[in-house]
Symmetry: C2
Subunit: 131 residues, 2 copies
């Protein structure tokens, strides 16, 4: 199986063929959008690669689960909480968040915070869909 | 466990703190460089995220293995062979290469071809290190 998702957007408004933006909803308010660039719909069973955008002032859910994440900041500024540590990251910066590490990304900038996030196959937790 | 690799380079010469560039060597000639942005050295056991650059005129090895890949082109132009299909891809384009699909990336441009590549934990094949 193979799949191609061509980039059809701009850096400001990224879009990919065959990838639907979904509201990244934390229950109280929409914090941004989530796009599954590689995932089950492509036949990928070992990992998923997602692109998130968080609105200015927004943050991801404060998550704690068994699986780990790899993150690459694409645009904007983030405060990344991992366990008891906090890091301010910008474009190109990479974070590895191990399993059982509480984590949350906060958008520190005036524009959207965009980041890629890798999920392993054995992702767990609510909806299996949170960063 | 957690790890941060700050981007310290430029789009032309990407570098990350704590990430050593390694020759991406196909045995005959160096085809470029490989950087493990997230991998075993970070404690990551479920997946690896790597950044490759292929020199102009260069190509990745023609690979066939059980594990799959997720690829995001960062810069340059690539011809991506997946099974019997070939796709010309550019910056932002995403490819999913399923397991047991023969694959190869060829740099079609005058500058380096840069791409991110996700490997699942159960990567197999020679050195487990090829794109």
């Amino acid at each position: 199986m193979a799949a191609i998702h061509r980039f059809t957007g701009t850096p400001e408004r990224p879009e990919w063929d065959g990838v639907e933006p979904r509201p990244y909803d934390l229950g109280e308010a929409v914090a941004g959008t989530k796009r599954v660039l590689v995932g089950p719909d492509d036949g990928a069973g070992n990992f998923a690669l997602r692109y998130f955008e968080i609105v200015p002032g927004g943050k991801s859910s404060l998550d704690l689960h068994d699986h780990d994440h790899g993150i690459v900041i694409v645009k904007g500024r983030a405060r990344v909480l991992i366990g008891r540590e906090s890091h301010e990251l910008g474009p190109g910066d990479v974070a590895y968040i191990g399993g059982r590490q509480e984590h949350q990304l906060t958008n520190l900038g005036d524009g959207p915070l965009g980041f890629l996030c890798v999920n392993p196959a054995r992702a767990t937790g609510p909806a299996g869909s949170r960063p």
